[in-house]
C-alpha cells in the first residue's frame, strides 16, 4: 500500500513535468504544424544559461545563494523565449509553406545544434543545480486505520506541483480570456480562417514558439536538481513529453497535461513490479505505438472530431 501511494506521490509531480513539456509540444504541433524534436534541447541550453547566470552573479558578488538562483531564472526564461521566436522567425518561416517534413528535419538539426553547442560552450559534464525548495522531505506515517503506511513527500515535488498548477491555470486563462490566446486557438483550428479575420498568423506562430519553449525551460529548471545539468538532461523528459501529447491527442492541449500525469504514475507503478524493473521506458514506448494505432486522437478524444 505504501508503495502504491508512494508511486502516486512521486509519479504525479514527475508526470506534471511531462505534461507541461507535452503541452508546449502539442501547442507547437497544433499551431505551427510540426513536431519539435529539439524542444527539450533548447530548454536544456536555457537551463545551462540559467546556471551560468547564477554562477556569474555569485562570482561577481552581486548576489548570493538563493537570490542568485531566483535572479538567474528570468534570464533563462527569456533565453528560452528568444530561442523560440528566433527558430520560428529565421528558420520555420522559410520552410513553413514547403512541407511539414522540412520543418521536422529542421527540428532534428536544431537538436544537434543545441546538443553540440552545449557540449562545446559548456561541457559534457554533469553539474548540480539547486532545488527551488531545499530542505528535508515530509514524511507521513500513518496511525490508527492507516497503521504501517509510510509516504515520503519531497519538498521539490511540492514546488513542482504548485508551479505546474499555477502554470496550467494561467495557460487556461490565457487561452480563454486573452486576445492572444484567442488568436492562438483560432490559428490552430483554421489558419485561413484566422487570416480572414485579420490575425497575423506569422506573429502568432512566433509567439507560440517562444511561449512553448519558455514552458519547457520551466520544466528544465524544476527537473534539474534531480537529473543534474548536462546536455542530454531533458532527452527522456522530452520523449515522454511527446508521449504525453500523444496520449492527450494533439488536438487537446490540456489533454497533454493529463496524459503526462498518467505516464508519471504509470512509470512508478511499473517500477513496483520487480520482474519489470528496468523495462518501464520500453513498455511506455511500446504503449505509444498501441495508442497511435488504436486511438490516434488521444485517449480523451470525443468532442468535435478534428484532424490534428
Amino acid at each position: 500500500m505504501s508503495e502504491l501511494l508512494q508511486a502516486i506521490t512521486i509519479g504525479i509531480p514527475q508526470g506534471a513535468l511531462y505534461g507541461l513539456m507535452g503541452f508546449g509540444i502539442a501547442m507547437i504541433f497544433r499551431s505551427a504544424g510540426t513536431l519539435n524534436f529539439s524542444h527539450g534541447y533548447s530548454a536544456m541550453v536555457s537551463v545551462l544559461i540559467t546556471l551560468s547566470a547564477m554562477q556569474t552573479f555569485i562570482g561577481l558578488n552581486i548576489l548570493e545563494g538563493r537570490l542568485a538562483l531566483f535572479a538567474a531564472i528570468p534570464v533563462g526564461l527569456i533565453a528560452g523565449a528568444v530561442f523560440g521566436v528566433l527558430i520560428d522567425l529565421l528558420l520555420m518561416r522559410r520552410v513553413k509553406h514547403v512541407s511539414p517534413a522540412s520543418m521536422l528535419m529542421i527540428t532534428l538539426g536544431l537538436l544537434l545544434v543545441f546538443e553540440g553547442a552545449a557540449n562545446l560552450i559548456w561541457s559534457p559534464d554533469y553539474e548540480s543545480f539547486p532545488r527551488l525548495l531545499p530542505g528535508p522531505p515530509f514524511i507521513f506515517e500513518g496511525a490508527g486505520l492507516f497503521e504501517g503506511i509510510r509516504v515520503v513527500f519531497r519538498r521539490n515535488d511540492i514546488a513542482v506541483m504548485l508551479i505546474a498548477l499555477v502554470i496550467s491555470v494561467s495557460m487556461a486563462a490565457l487561452m480563454k480570456y486573452t486576445k492572444i490566446g484567442l488568436a492562438i486557438r483560432a490559428r490552430g483550428q483554421d489558419p485561413v480562417g484566422a487570416q480572414s479575420v485579420g490575425i497575423n498568423t506569422n506573429r502568432v506562430d512566433s509567439i507560440v514558439w517562444g511561449l512553448s519553449i519558455t514552458l519547457a525551460v520551466v520544466v528544465g529548471i524544476l527537473i534539474a536538481p534531480i537529473t543534474r545539468v548536462h546536455p542530454t538532461m531533458l532527452m527522456n523528459t522530452q520523449l515522454l513529453g511527446i508521449t504525453a501529447a500523444v496520449l492527450g491527442g494533439f488536438s487537446s492541449l490540456f489533454g497533454a497535461i493529463w496524459g503526462g500525469l498518467m505516464i508519471g504514475v504509470l512509470e512508478r507503478l511499473i517500477d513496483i513490479v520487480p520482474a519489470l524493473d528496468g523495462y518501464e521506458t520500453a513498455i511506455i514506448f511500446f504503449l505509444i505505438i498501441l495508442i497511435l494505432v488504436f486511438k490516434p486522437m488521444g485517449l480523451f478524444a470525443g468532442k468535435v472530431g478534428r484532424k490534428a
Partner: protein
C-alpha cells in the same frame, strides 16, 4: 551493371588513396565502417526515399542484427558457425519486428508514423538495455578472425565490406527497378493513385519495411563483427538521427545517397579524428549542415547532383564530346562551294556519279554501308552546317542547302548526277532537282520529307530544345530513326556523335525550313525519273505523305516491309539492289 563497376572501382580507389595519403591501413578501418553504415543508409533510401514511409526507428534493426550476431558468436563453439547463425537469426528477428512495426505503419502516416517509429527505436534500445546482456558487449570476434590484427586484416576487411556493399547495392538496384520498386514509389507519391492501380498497399508497405529492415540488420551484424564492441546506445536515438542525416545530406532517392551520406556523416568525423576536435563541435556542425541542406538543398547531394547533371551539365558535356570527336582524323576531302565555304565529302568506286544527301542531324556516315555500289562512284557529302562541312548563316530555306550542293557539283565538274536523298536530304534533293534539272538525271527519295514539307507541331520548340540540350535525348531520338538497327550500339554511338557536329544554332531553323518547304507547284514541270521509297514502319513520314510526293513528282512509289525510317542502314543490300535496278540505262552501258 556499369554503375556497380564504377562504384566498386571508386570505392577501392578511395581506399587506395587513403592508404597512400596516410601511409597506413588505419583509415581503412574507418572506411569499412562507412561502408557498413552505407548499407543501412541504402535501407533508408528504400523505405523513406522510395516508399515515403518516414521511419525513424530503423536503428533498432541494426541493434537486432548486431546483438543477435554478437550473442550467438559467443554462445556457440566455433566462431564462424556462431557468426553465420547469429547473423541469419538476426535477419529473421528483424523481419519479424519489421512486420510488427510495419502493421501499425499501415494505419499511420507522416508525423504519427515518425513518432511511432521513434518510440519503437527508443523502446528497443531501452529493452536491450534492460536485458541480461553485458553492457557493453566486448570482444566480439572479427569477421576475419583467421587473420591477425594488422594491415592485411584491414585491407581484407575493406575489400570484403566493399564486396558486401556492392552486393546489397545490386540487390537494392534490382528491387528498385523491379515492379516492387515501382509500387513502392507509387505509395510514396500518392497512396490514392496506388490503391486505384490495384496494388495491395498493405503488402507492398510491409515488403518495403522488411527489405529495409534486412539491410539495416545486416549492417548491424557487420558492425558487430568489424568493430568488436557494441552497446545499446550505439543504436539509440543518435544512430536514428544519423541514419536520417545520411539520406538527407546524401540524397534519399538514389541508392548512392546512402554511400555519399555515410561518407559525410560517419566517415568524415572518424577521419578527422574526433578526439582532436573539441567535443560537441562535430554535432554542432552536422546540425547546422542539416538545417542548411533542408533549406537550400532539400533533395540531398545525390539527387541534386543528378538534377544538376540533367539540367546544367549536359550542354558542357556535349561540347566536350563534340570537341574530342572532332579531333578524329578525316579521310575525306573538301571542296569550295559558295563564298569560300568548304563542303566535306567522301567518295568511293569508279563509274557514273551517285550523290548521297543525308538527313537532319546526319552526315555522310549514314551512307557508310552503301558506299560500295558496283558500277558507280558514290559521293557522300556533309551538307553545310552538318558534319565536317563549314558553318553557314543559319537559314530557314532548304534552297540554300541545295544551292551549295549545286555549287559542289559544279566545282567537281560532275555535270549530271544520280541523286539519293534521305529524309531532310530528300527535300534538298527535290529542291536541287526541280531548280537545277540538268544537274540531276535521276532521283531516289528515301523516307524523304514530303513534297509539301513537314509542319511544325505544337510542342516542337520544346522537343527541339530538349534534343539540343541533352545528350541522352538526342541519342534516343537517333535510335528511333535508326529503326531496326538501333540495337547496334556502335553504330548508334557513332551516328549520335556525328549528330553533335551539326550546327547547334540550326536546330530550330531546320524544323522551320521543313515547315516552309513546298514544291507541289514547282513539281509540275518536273519530269526527271524519280523513285519514292518508304519503310512501312517509318514513324516520321506517313504513307499519305509518300503517296502525295510520288504523285506530284510523277514518280513510282515503293514500300518496304519491316523497314523503318532508314533503309540505308537497316538493309543496305536491299538498298544497293534498288539503286542499281532503278537505273536501267546505266546497267545497260
Amino acid at each position: 551493371m556499369k554503375r556497380i563497376f564504377l562504384l566498386g572501382s571508386g570505392i577501392l580507389a578511395a581506399g587506395l588513396i587513403a592508404f597512400l595519403l596516410t601511409g597506413g591501413t588505419y583509415t581503412l578501418g574507418n572506411l569499412s565502417l562507412v561502408l557498413v553504415w552505407a548499407i543501412a543508409g541504402m535501407g533508408m533510401v528504400i523505405i523513406i526515399g522510395n516508399t515515403g514511409q518516414l521511419s525513424l526507428g530503423h536503428a533498432a534493426f541494426m541493434a537486432i542484427g548486431a546483438y543477435s550476431t554478437a550473442i550467438f558468436t559467443e554462445l556457440l563453439p566455433g566462431i564462424y558457425g556462431g557468426m553465420l547463425l547469429g547473423t541469419l537469426i538476426g535477419l529473421f528477428i528483424a523481419t519479424v519486428f519489421a512486420l510488427l512495426i510495419g502493421l501499425p505503419a499501415l494505419r499511420l502516416r507522416g508525423y504519427y508514423l515518425a513518432i511511432a517509429t521513434i518510440a519503437f527505436g527508443v523502446g528497443m534500445e531501452q529493452a536491450i538495455r534492460a536485458m541480461p546482456f553485458p553492457n557493453p558487449v566486448y570482444n566480439i570476434p572479427h569477421i576475419l578472425s583467421f587473420t591477425r590484427p594488422g594491415p592485411i586484416r584491414d585491407i581484407a576487411t575493406y575489400v570484403l565490406m566493399t564486396a558486401l556493399f556492392l552486393l546489397f547495392y545490386a540487390i537494392g538496384l534490382v528491387i528498385l527497378k523491379s515492379p516492387f520498386g515501382v509500387k513502392f514509389r507509387m505509395i510514396r507519391d500518392s497512396q490514392v493513385a496506388a490503391r486505384s492501380y490495384g496494388t495491395n498497399l498493405a503488402a507492398n508497405k510491409l515488403q518495403a519495411f522488411i527489405v529495409s529492415a534486412v539491410f539495416c540488420a545486416l549492417a548491424g551484424s557487420m558492425y558487430a563483427v568489424t568493430q568488436g564492441v557494441i552497446q545499446p546506445v550505439t543504436f539509440g536515438l543518435m544512430a536514428a538521427i544519423d541514419l536520417l542525416l545520411i539520406i538527407i545530406i546524401g540524397g534519399a532517392i538514389l541508392l548512392e545517397g546512402g554511400l555519399i551520406g555515410s561518407f559525410i556523416i560517419v566517415g568524415l568525423p572518424a577521419l578527422v579524428l574526433e578526439e582532436l576536435v573539441p567535443p560537441g563541435s562535430l554535432t554542432l556542425i552536422y546540425g547546422i549542415l542539416l538545417i542548411i541542406f533542408v533549406i537550400a538543398l532539400p533533395s540531398g547531394i545525390a539527387t541534386e547532383l543528378y538534377i544538376m547533371w540533367n539540367r546544367k551539365m549536359q550542354v558542357p558535356y556535349m561540347a566536350v564530346l563534340r570537341f574530342l570527336y572532332r579531333l578524329k582524323p578525316v579521310k575525306g576531302s573538301f571542296v569550295e562551294t559558295i563564298e569560300g565555304k568548304q563542303m566535306y565529302y567522301v567518295a568511293q568506286g569508279e563509274g557514273p556519279i551517285l550523290l548521297y544527301i543525308h538527313g537532319n542531324t546526319g552526315s555522310h556516315q549514314w551512307f557508310r554501308e552503301v558506299m560500295d555500289v558496283p558500277g558507280y562512284r558514290t559521293v557522300a557529302i556533309d551538307l553545310m552546317n552538318f558534319g565536317r562541312s563549314d558553318r553557314i548563316e543559319t537559314t530557314d530555306d532548304i534552297d540554300t542547302y541545295a544551292d551549295h550542293v549545286a555549287a559542289f557539283i559544279d566545282q567537281l565538274g560532275l555535270e549530271t548526277c544520280y541523286v539519293a536523298g534521305h529524309s531532310f536530304g530528300g527535300a534538298v534533293a527535290m529542291s536541287l532537282a526541280i531548280r537545277y534539272p540538268n544537274k540531276v538525271r535521276r532521283m531516289l527519295l528515301i523516307d524523304s520529307a514530303p513534297i509539301d514539307g513537314l509542319p511544325l507541331g505544337d510542342d516542337s520548340e520544346a522537343r527541339i530544345e530538349a534534343l539540343r540540350r541533352h545528350y541522352g535525348v538526342l541519342k534516343s531520338a537517333i535510335g528511333k530513326v535508326m529503326g531496326s538497327r538501333s540495337k547496334d550500339r556502335h553504330l548508334h554511338s557513332l551516328l549520335t556523335k556525328e549528330a553533335l557536329l551539326m550546327n547547334r544554332e540550326a536546330y530550330f531553323n531546320h524544323a522551320l525550313a521543313l515547315d516552309d518547304f513546298d514544291y507541289s507547284e514547282g513539281a509540275a514541270s518536273f519530269n526527271t525519273p524519280a523513285l519514292v521509297i518508304r519503310g512501312v514502319l517509318d514513324p516520321l513520314i506517313s504513307d499519305e505523305d509518300a503517296r502525295r510526293t510520288a504523285e506530284a513528282l510523277k514518280a513510282e512509289l515503293q514500300v518496304f516491309d519491316n523497314i523503318g525510317h532508314a533503309l540505308i542502314i537497316e538493309d543496305p543490300e536491299a538498298f544497293k539492289r534498288l539503286v542499281v535496278n532503278f537505273d536501267p540505262g546505266e546497267q545497260a552501258s
